[in-house]
Symmetry: C2
Subunit: 355 residues, 2 copies
């Protein structure tokens, strides 16, 4: 039994006493205790691949703040790593792959990894985190979206212009579709294995869908997101397993995203949440959407932005407070405490009909 | 008298025989002749500051392609450079300022430069380009937006998270407003001086407005864009001087942007141009919006995207074809020829009522 199921209830638009809150990348480099564990691990990949250390860092932000959910600490690129692309992190740079996927031969040889075998370390972390949480708050499992994974797989790492994957998209859409089909199958199996291991909600991060044109987004990202929604295990341990989809930069396409079949839609901070609720809030819950940079303000400006977003959503359930993107490493942990307290305190009046 | 005024007519939504086209950053590193001139100049700033060389590179893409407008070759950061911030380009990196604006003292000492004095080299380039164009196509003058200039001035260069300017925005909005007021005054004087020197249309690039939340965009970017629209010289040489505003990532705010007082609104490729026309096309012309990465496809995919965008806008005037962002240095110049021919050829049926 969960002591605090506010997060799960809000995702299903069931009554809650306050607006639940978690923070994308809440176990991250803004926390000194995270940096200490990471140093101990030697590098980021060791941290991801050790269930003990992944459990430790997953729990760190919950020890500091009264967050309403934990999220599995892992990397977004575990799937392509398990496909044999050779994930590594160059010092001071983002993730890179030793063997990016560019030509037909490389695409033809790609297969979805069996998560029970090659992503065992993630599933072990999920089980261990669940045991350690001991019913305090729910645990979120996650995956990158098929398109976002493909970006890294084809570019070979991060990109500013995405010219390799977009070149493939326009020149050889058949090859990109083949990669996306395999990624979709892999993501479904991976998320369902996380649910079986104990994840109580799942989120798909479509970090790069927003770099596409509107029709390309529908064909190369949203289509596969819908297949994932259709393939997810919807019940486990006698309750629903809510799902969240987040396309950063997807504000123009909210109606279509809300139709994809997930329970909740993540919003970045460029979207006015009142507009978003008007456009799609009868269909899905909304998660977001404070600019992470608001945490570089002061207590007053943080509280004022929290109030603005809570008022924008308005009364009733169906809102999970979050940032509109991951928290940055330069954030002062004290400001996060201000945020968490503000959301809990200022959101109660919006749920008074339920008290 | 202009031999080809299609661009100016389309901005004013007057009948045209084809959809005019120019390309953001059309004088740029994808052209070998540009790279040759740049080498000769020694560095990028010398190229900007020499009216002879700026004229030479402005004309280069027009010699290759039948573009419908020329755009002044210059840097977006000439204004803060003229304010004394010390613009420089570190090798392999973007622009940087030696003296960024961070504290109250630095803000209080900021003043708008007199373009006739400290931006004389730009005005001389405008006059010289106009003479060299000899009425072939119109010349576009341009400036960065007050907020976009402030981003560079406060961050000290490019940024991924904009934490300095956003920290100022949330902690000391009074300081940021002061910077924006000075920038606005400077941009108006600068654009009007370009018009006096011969620019036949002007464009304001709000490259970074899209990184703001919706209310912050209105307060810190759009408000100042409206002031610019109100302060621009609207007639010169016996004809209207149309103005274009472009907020990259501003698709969610199109209605508000169309209300700012410019003749045309630029669109990035995430916006469906048919939706944009429905939302604001009765009020302003639209410029855009092909993903620059479509040029990494093949002739068929380029023509097919051109057709999709032309059909999306539909029949009648009020559309200037462009990319949704600057062309990248890795583009094959041959593909640009395919684009230019496709726009001219495929757009004629959409203007047949005027023939």
């Amino acid at each position: 039994m969960l002591k605090n199921d506010t997060f799960l209830r809000a995702l299903l638009r069931e009554p809650v006493s306050h607006t639940p809150l978690w923070i994308m990348r809440q176990a991250g480099r803004y926390l000194p205790e995270y940096n200490a564990t990471r140093s101990r691990a030697g590098n980021f990949l060791n941290l991801c691949k050790s269930p003990d250390l992944a459990t430790e860092v997953t729990l760190q932000p919950l020890a500091r703040y009264s967050l309403d959910a934990a999220i599995l600490f892992s990397d977004i690129l575990t799937i392509p790593d398990a496909m044999g692309l050779g994930l590594y992190f160059a010092e001071g740079e983002g993730p890179r792959f030793e063997r990016p996927i560019r030509d037909e031969w490389e695409v033809r040889n790609l297969t979805a990894p069996d998560p029970e075998v090659s992503l065992r370390y993630v599933l072990d972390a999920v089980s261990q985190i669940r045991r350690t949480l001991a019913g305090s708050v729910p645990l979120i499992g996650f995956s990158g979206s098929p398109f976002t994974l493909a970006c890294y797989m084809v570019e070979g790492g991060g990109s500013e212009d995405f010219r390799h994957i977009k070149g493939m998209l326009y020149r050889r859409p058949d090859l990109l579709h083949r990669i996306l089909e395999i990624n979709t199958q892999a993501v479904i199996q991976y998320l369902n294995a996380q649910i079986e291991a104990g994840a109580q909600a799942v989120m798909v991060f479509d970090t790069w869908g927003g770099v596409l044109s509107s029709p390309a987004y529908r064909e190369f990202s949203l289509h596969y997101l819908s297949m994932i929604a259709a393939g997810l295990t919807r019940h486990a341990e006698g309750r629903k397993v809510p799902s969240i989809v987040f396309t950063k930069g997807g504000g123009l396409w909210l109606e279509a995203i809300a139709d994809a079949g997930f329970d909740a839609v993540g919003l970045d901070w460029t979207v006015e949440i009142s507009d978003a609720r008007r456009r799609v809030g009868a269909q899905v819950a909304l998660q977001g959407n404070m600019d992470p940079m608001v945490l570089f303000g002061n207590s007053d400006s943080i509280r004022s932005e929290v109030q603005r977003i809570l008022s924008g959503f308005g009364s009733g359930s169906g809102h999970v407070f979050n940032l509109g993107h991951g928290i940055t490493r330069f954030t002062d942990p004290e400001q996060v405490a201000v945020l968490v307290d503000a959301v809990h305190e200022l959101s109660r009046p919006f749920h008074e009909e339920n008290l």
